[in-house]
Amino acid sequence: MVQERRILYEHLDVPDINTFEVFRQHDGYTRFEKAIAEYQPEELAQMVWDAGLKGRGGAGFSTGEKWSFVPRDIEPRYLCCNADESEPGTFSNRYVLEKNPHLLIEGILICCYAMGIETTYIYIRGEFTLGKKMLDAAIKEAYEQGYLGENVRGTGLNINIYSHPGAGAYICGEETGLIESLEGKRGQPRNKPPFPAVQGVFMKPTVVQNVETLCNLPFIVGNGVEWYTQMGPTYGDARFDPPKPDPNTGTKLYCISGDVNEPGVYELELGLTCTELIEVAGGLRGEEVKAVIPGGSSAPILTHYELDTRLDFTSLTLAKSMLGSGGIIVMNETRNIVDCLLNIMKFYAHESCGQCTPCRWGTPWVRDIVQRIADGEGRQTTVTRPKFGITESGRWGDTGETEEIYEDLDLLENVANNIANVDTMTWNTICVFGIAVSWPAVSYMRKFRPEFEAAIRESKLVTLSVAEATVPPEENYAYQQRIIPKEMADLE
């Protein structure tokens, strides 16, 4: 069985780790001191790039690459730490904020030093009252100990960290929505470009990073790039010659919930399979896995045929899904996929910010269609098409063949694909919220079509067995198109 590899969470359960003194006893702030003593800011940024750290917030974009876009000659620059954790199924940042906030502060200090940043805003979810209390206390302690404020520990650096509470809007987890919200406006995402790295908060260069990404920095600095890259697979992109390395290095805080015996956060090296993760989380609660959502509710669903997919950024992207924020939701054989989709669509219809028309009108429309199907009022039509053959009277003519068309399922796919097209990966909205809506809508419907059809046909929710509800692999678009990446070592 795969073993947990606790790095970020290593000292999470140490009593009073939230206080400066105890954190200090567990190597706290020594990595920041090492960074200042041994490295130049540019060297640190290069180190993060070499380590292959990918953003843990959802998009999985290379952190080092993102930092390289920030113009170093424009002052001031800002860091926004995204602690607006609201993706359904994700809850790893909450534990960091509530139990070990000094680790986040140390990560921020390293990022600030590497990027020459003086001001950091931690945008923390409004509902995280305990997290904010613990974080504010830790920030206060760090100021008292001279790790924040003017002339940090006599190095001449000025670094300030402020926590900024959100107010319950999901869209503020999107980086430009977060920036707008931080500026005191409605949290409606901005058009990109310009990217936040060039014009972000207060129209100044801004680095936006997730809590988990920043918490990785002390360990990269403390243990070195080589140590870090040994964890997790490094794939080779065979489209390039020689193959371009595609690192999925480090550990991930996998949040697993739903039908497993021991839901919780498990820190594991990237690259284990779905089946292995369910085993780590105490096994399945129930008889059979019906479906797994691999990366928060926005991610396309995986059927039981796809459970051998490795849970890392590259593998899941090539399997037409995504790792996203690492929130894994498991469903057993008793669950009805139509009902699950309805729940998720209600969420998106509620959280659409209302800025772009396709999303503002499309999300409630998709919800209404699914609601209709779940209520047993799904629309179905019988079409008669001319088909020539031997008729009942024994003559050659129109046999009058009819076909059942599930009108609502076609409509559902049509509406969802016009918010964002899942096949071409293009969206008609400003931000990626559009794709977060149509991804689940289309993937649930295509992969569990028999269950949707049964609900329409029998005018009520029908929970089919796992084998009946899932479309076979040869009809599964994602299974047909998926590519299993090869590790660099195998390519060479």
Binding site: T90, F91, L130, G166, A167, L182, G184, G258
Partner: protein, 172 residues
Amino acid sequence: MSEEIIQIETPFQFNEDNKREFDELIGRYPVKEAAMLPTLHLAQRQEGYITPAVMKYVAELLELSVMKVKDVVTFYPMFFEEPVGKYVIRICHTLPCALRDCKVVLDHLKEKLGTDVASETNLAKGTTEDGKFTLMKVECLASCDVAPVIMVNDDLYKNLTPEKVDELLDNL
């Protein structure tokens, strides 16, 4: 202009503690407008909900139009424009909680409190007659490992069952 449209019966003002906190807040940002959300949180904590008087006061503090403040207040679900009960009960009903039977807890809460679930535009619908409780559904509270969960004001309660809800409500 704004004064004519919005009728204000009693003006609002921060108490001394909040005023001090606000003065500290405002220094964190290069523009005053950025202090909007923390300021509104402070005001809501003092007043209970965001009244027109609060909006006018916040607009004056941040040197903005009242419209701009209203614009923000209506966007975020955590700001109330109507009075709410002493205890605001937020129940999570998103997928991971739904998989762990949050509906049982919700039905029990509805029956026990004798009220419906508040909607964003009608908070009175979910408020008990004595004004003690307001029941509302919210989206994921990021505690899916201990689902189903509810938040009562600032505190989170985990792994709920109808019995635990009874115990919790009796202690409030």
